[in-house]
């Protein structure tokens, strides 16, 4: 019985001595050897190096270690000799090194890692605060160790939508409704509202090809007929916004004016006028009996702007131009020059947002130069829709 006890005790003691030698790398231990973490979390490992000194004053200095999974390098620590100089603890072998291994890129399952440890031989320098390298330049491999990690599936993060949904259940998207007057107050502060309202369908309908950008400074004069009702103005706002953008995109300076003597004078005596755009009624009516009016409306339907057909417009603009020229030349010369000008104003573009403006070419002949673009409306024009006719002067 006593022999058996002795045998058991011997086996236990011997096993205790042999086991670490067989299964643990000499000089290096990693704690914990096996750990479980959720994916995305990191594993905290303690590396303990217990290399003995080779001789007095000479130390094994751990310069770094590299972690492998199979042949693939997963991570590394230190490994540069410069770090030895600054981190004396690496050489002292007194402190453990704590290393955090991220698991973001590891798949769920058990992973076994091997570690290769690199060292240098060093000796304390004379009065120097760090360890001085003694032998050779290269760090060299001295030992191996291993550890394993079981990566568990991470708890599913709540999706963004779910968060939003939860939030919206708790908090309504709008807690309170401001009174309408608040909105009106804010909108009233917006200048030129009608030119900010692009109308979705109108955006797509720009008659004709995009014109090339102009190289020189030119102005597009945009005229709005006075006395338009609010509803008429509202109905035209989509077209206004579209053409405002169109001319600005082409490089024109865009000037909006109300149709009156002063503004006409300003626009048509400006040598930089390049485009003319009108929003308002045709305004041309005729006096006479009920029957003659009906006949006129049926058959003539002359293109006109606020009651002025092409001839009337010529006369108006002739006067403005004469006045302007007279400032620098004789009356006769001014009249001759003005007469020349009003044959054709020579604009690049003319858009007439009025009924019947493209029923014939009279307005096109007056406004645009050869190869210039004229847009108008054949038949009655309704404010919500774009112009239906485009012509290039030949």
């Amino acid at each position: 019985m006593s022999r058996l006890k002795l045998l058991i005790i011997s086996i236990v003691i011997l096993g205790g001595l042999i086991f670490p030698v067989l299964f643990v790398s000499a000089g290096t231990s990693i704690t914990p050897e096996h750990s479980k973490v959720k994916q995305g979390e990191s594993v905290d490992l303690i590396f303990n190096f217990s290399y003995s000194t080779a001789e007095k004053g000479r130390w094994m200095c751990v310069t770094g270690f590299t972690i492998y999974e199979g042949e693939k390098e997963i991570n590394r620590y230190g490994d540069k000799r410069e770090s030895c100089k600054k981190g004396s603890y690496l050489c002292m072998n007194k402190e453990d090194i704590t290393f955090s291994l991220p698991t973001d890129n590891l798949k769920v399952g058990v992973h076994t890692f091997s570690v290769k440890i690199y060292v240098e031989n060093r000796t304390p320098g004379m009065g120097q605060p760090y360890w001085v390298k003694q032998f050779g330049d290269e760090c060299y491999f001295i030992d191996t160790a291993s550890f394993s990690v079981e990566v568990l599936a991470a708890a599913k993060k709540p999706e963004k939508k779910t968060e939003e949904e939860e939030k919206s259940v708790l908090e309504p998207r709008l807690e309170k409704l401001p009174p309408k007057k608040d909105f009106k107050e804010r909108i009233s502060k917006t200048k030129n509202i009608e030119r900010k309202l692009f109308w979705e369908k109108l955006k797509e309908i720009v008659l004709g090809e995009e014109a090339p950008k102009i190289g020189q400074e030119k102005t597009a004069y945009m005229f709005i007929q006075p006395y338009l009702t609010d509803f008429e103005l509202f109905s035209l706002s989509g077209e206004m916004a579209k053409w405002d953008k169109y001319f600005k995109d082409l490089g024109y300076k865009v000037t909006w004016l109300e149709w009156n003597t002063e503004s006409l004078k300003r626009a048509f005596t400006d040598p930089n006028i390049g485009a003319f755009d009108y929003y308002g009624h045709n305004g041309l009516d005729t006096e006479g009996s009920w029957l003659s009016k009906r006949i006129f409306k049926l058959f003539r339907r002359t293109p006109a702007i606020f009651g002025n057909d092409a001839d009337n417009l010529r006369n108006l603009i002739f006067n403005y131009k004469c006045e302007e020229y007279e400032k620098t030349m004789s009356l006769e010369e001014a009249r001759r020059k003005a007469q020349q000008d009003i044959e054709c104003l020579g604009l690049d573009f003319a858009n007439i947002h009025a009924c019947y403006s493209a029923n014939n070419d009279s307005l096109m002949e007056f406004f645009v130069k050869t190869s210039g673009t004229f847009r108008g409306h054949r038949g009655p024009y309704h404010g919500f829709w774009p112009l239906n006719t485009i012509k290039t002067k030949e």
């Binding site: 409704l177 109308w199 308002g280 009924c355």
Partner: protein, 149 residues
């Protein structure tokens, strides 16, 4: 009394139809009740601002609100009315709705639709975006020809 197979099938068919009808009716009733509550709240809020609200419809992720608009208005009036209707809808509708369409029936017979994304409406009401940029984000679509010019 012996039941033939034919009779048994007919009875089962009848019972199944009754069950299906009950389920469908319940679902419609529950949905309708939710929708009626939304309708009533929006209706009250619009009437409080003297907006002549006529109908509210749901189409996919869009709510369409129809109202009558007098034509003697200024531009600020109509835009503030649209903004108010949109804000009222966003406040009361379920979260699954992403777009609000205001269908504006003018008293002269003209019709226009104004459409905006819920996110843009919220940003405008909370003053996170400027009035200008909100106006530019509203898509306006004419449904009729418009007045003769």
């Amino acid at each position: 009394m012996n039941m033939t197979i034919k009779n048994k099938i007919l009875i089962w068919l009848g019972v199944s139809i009754i069950v299906i009808v009950i389920i469908v009716t319940t679902v419609i009733w529950v949905n309708g009740r939710t929708f009626r509550l939304v309708y009533e709240t929006i209706s009250q809020e619009l009437e409080a601002e003297e907006i002549d609200f006529t109908k509210i419809k749901k189409k996919g992720d869009t709510i369409i609100i129809i109202y009558n608009q007098p034509i003697d208005f200024e531009m600020e009036d109509i835009l503030s009315t649209w903004a108010y209707i949109m804000a009222s809808a966003v406040k009361n509708i379920p979260d699954t709705i992403n777009k609000i369409v205001v269908k504006c029936n003018f008293e002269n017979g003209e019709k226009v639709e104004a459409e905006a994304e819920v996110e843009d409406i919220i940003s405008f009401v909370k003053e996170e975006i400027s009035t200008e940029s909100f106006l530019e984000k509203i898509n306006i679509t004419p449904l009729t020809e418009g007045p003769k010019i």
